[in-house]
Amino acid sequence: MQIVKYGVLSGLVLAAAACTPVAPWQRGVLAKPHMALNPNPIDAVMRNHNYSSREAAPAGMAGMGGGCGCY
């Protein structure tokens, strides 16, 4: 199945990458706001709602929210 193929692929990419140890004091850059996984959470809420009401696949992983979006 296609889904398995993509799953394995992304797993491999991650595994290959996860090898350099990064000491805690080296993580200053990672703590910058623009390095956050969701750097613009406020407008992401609205954008994901727009995409989800216009596309068959839901946008964003944590699918909490309701409503019809019937338009």
Binding site: G11, R27, G28, V29, A62, G66
Partner: protein, 879 residues
Amino acid sequence: MKPPLRVWPGWGGAVAATDSQKSALKALTLAALALPGLMSAGNAAAEEDEVAFQFSHYQEGRRNLAGVESNLKPIEVESLYGFGRVSLTDRIKFIFNYTQDTWSGATPITTAPVVANSNRPIVASRDGETVIAGASPFISSRVFLDRDFNLLSQDPSTGRAAGVDPAAVHVMSMASPEIRRQGDINLGYEWDESAVNWGFGGSVEDDYFSWFSSLNGRLDFNQKLTSLNMGFSYTGSDIQANFDHDAATYIDKVAFQHQISRTLSKETIRGGRSDASWNLGLTQIITKSALATASLGYTHSQGYLENPYKAMTIIFADPDPLVINPSNPDGLVGDVRAFLEQRPDHRNQWQVGAGYVQHIGLLDAALHANYQFFQDDWDIHAHTFRLEWIQPVATTWTVTPRFRYYSQSAADFYKPFLLSKQAHNRLDFDPDSGEISITPFDRDKLPDNFSSDHRLSAYGALSGGIVVNKRIAKGLALEAGFEYYTHQGSLRLDGEGENSFADFDFFVANANLKVNLSTLGRALADGGQAHAHHHHHGAPAPAGVMFSHLIPAGQTMVGYRYMWSRQAGDMLRGTAYASDADIVRNGCTAGFTGRCRVNPIEMNMGMHMLDLMYAPYDWLNLMLMPQFMDMDMNVRMLDGVRYNAMKDHLHIHETGGVGDLGMYALFRLFSSANHNANLSLGVTAPTGSVDETLRRIHRIDKGLIHYGMQLGSGTWDFKPSLTYTGVDGTWSWGAQMNGTVRMESSNESGYALGNAFQSSAWGGYNVLSWLTASLRWAFTYQGQIQGQFYPTPGVADGRLVDNVNMGSRANPSVGAMDFPGSYGGRYWDVGFGLSAVVPNGSFQGHRFGVEWLQPVMDDVNGYQQARVGALSATWGLMF
């Protein structure tokens, strides 16, 4: 208790580190690692306490209706979003979200062959010229086909069948404004290397109710280089949709017969659905400037998964017809019918995603790349690619260009329209008996599932936009974004998408204000002593009183104000009860028939306001107050008037969106330890619309919605106020006079609201050192509306008429609320209020207020519904 010190507190993130900062940073980082939940891979950038307000406008472009000119407005949505995240303790976080959308416009109700001429233009002749007054959806008609079931066009002059034309087109239908409100709360608890989060919320629309709950967990390991996220969420929805008046009679609803109920004025379908989702995510720090994510998701949906407003067009063509149509002697005649769409009752959806975030050291930029693959058992496969470049500029700016590409295949039951090789109703003639028999079509020959919703078709979508963020003060940031989105069949990955009839585009513009409470909390703590006396500079005025206090020079205040008012119950004429018979006879004498037909059952109005205040001097404060409105009204037939399905419109009417923008200057007139007086001069700009209309029903346009449900005054208004406040120990008091003077005699719709004047006086007592209870007396005068709606030309029964407003000849279904004489009056109220300035804890320095205004007496102009009361709730923070 202050929130813990975070790594890199520079909010807005536009700070480049020097060497000394770097070593300090190292020390801070070490210290921070000891703090709970920090610097884990799953939560790399610390989430600080924050409140945010956002407004956004979604606007679709016009659709291609195969040459038919339509005056139907494309869909637009105005949304308001409020967000708050507060640390209740070091380890407990509370998050809330609130969204309110108002949408209106034309949306496809079905897809039909172009040759069926379903968006039939309404052509009217006026003054000897022909005017095309838009398109009206017709979804039952006849088409010609050849013997191979190919659709044929018709020669417009002879009416005879011509060449093959398989093209499709959307059939558009208009909707009156509708409001959706969604709110949720989240509670999170953080341990040193893990966290849990529980959320609960609901979404309410007139026709759709959902509630949802979620549970998420995070586990950090591998020295916090790796984080594992797990989540589960459940959504339950109840659908209760009223069918479109114009379309309902043409649509075959037999498949849902057991879910449909009928009353005199409406036909309603009920359904329920549930959606359960599981998510699994992994975040991995790869280098000191890169991290990656992987995610896996599964959702199971079941129940009524249809969209109740979408229909499937089915062309019934009898391969062996009894009679031959002389205009298509060699071919067949197709009967074009519409059916409610039928989707499967189950849907299993899987998602796999991967993301990568890379810091670009030279530019201090961050590159975000994401890919997601989606698949479901409706045979939809979708790919989403996202790319974002976040570029800090000149310490206080951040510019983010972004790009997104989406591509999906079609659901296996998607078709623009269907062909069924049987007669819709077959006529047979029995030569022996001489009788004609009618055989209806065989439902078993139709597919089990079908939908023409273009969101289930194969297409691609490209979108791109930019977000600009500016830190305007310590802890305060303003952000504006713009995005353009285009949906096209040809943009699908392999280029093989739906034809161009289904293409559409939209843009979204949004602006938000973020207040970082953690930064402000630290600032307040640093300079806390300096401000302390201001917090007690006079007791807070009741929540319903604005402009009562000035803030000291150099300070900023961000506040939010919500006002809600309701009218329900008895109708009044002056101060006395008005009977239905009285209203019918005397309430609508200015209308075409001179009689009222309908009456409000209730009317609710909500206003969300943002208070932004800045003090250049102690004696001068400047204030900006954007507003966002929502209103709804439910109407009934007046006793003694018979309901007429073709004329009367008994739904709940809703409107909402941006209201008028207030701009004020506050002047300190006098100030001593116990007494204060100030003057406020301001104007409101007519940013709220005054041309909200109701949709066409039964082929008759309904014109402008009631005066009281327009979103603004439509005029530039002058708003002065004079306030005195006093305080002595635990007692406080005050008085205010304020007015509203319309500076124009009429707005773009032809009227001006009456001038208004209010005087109020109050007393307060400090129940606790930080809590004040207040009692207020208020008198309000409001003049009646001057002028009236300009006539609104529109369509009535296929003719263009000069006026379709309520009360006109074409639209005689009217109530007292549709006449300017039934607005304004004299109103007396008593207010009960509570105000607090939080002395300590996470909300230290925050001001909260609530006041209920209880009507004592109404003396109304014309006929109006009695007021139930008004609620004011406020929040504010000065820094």
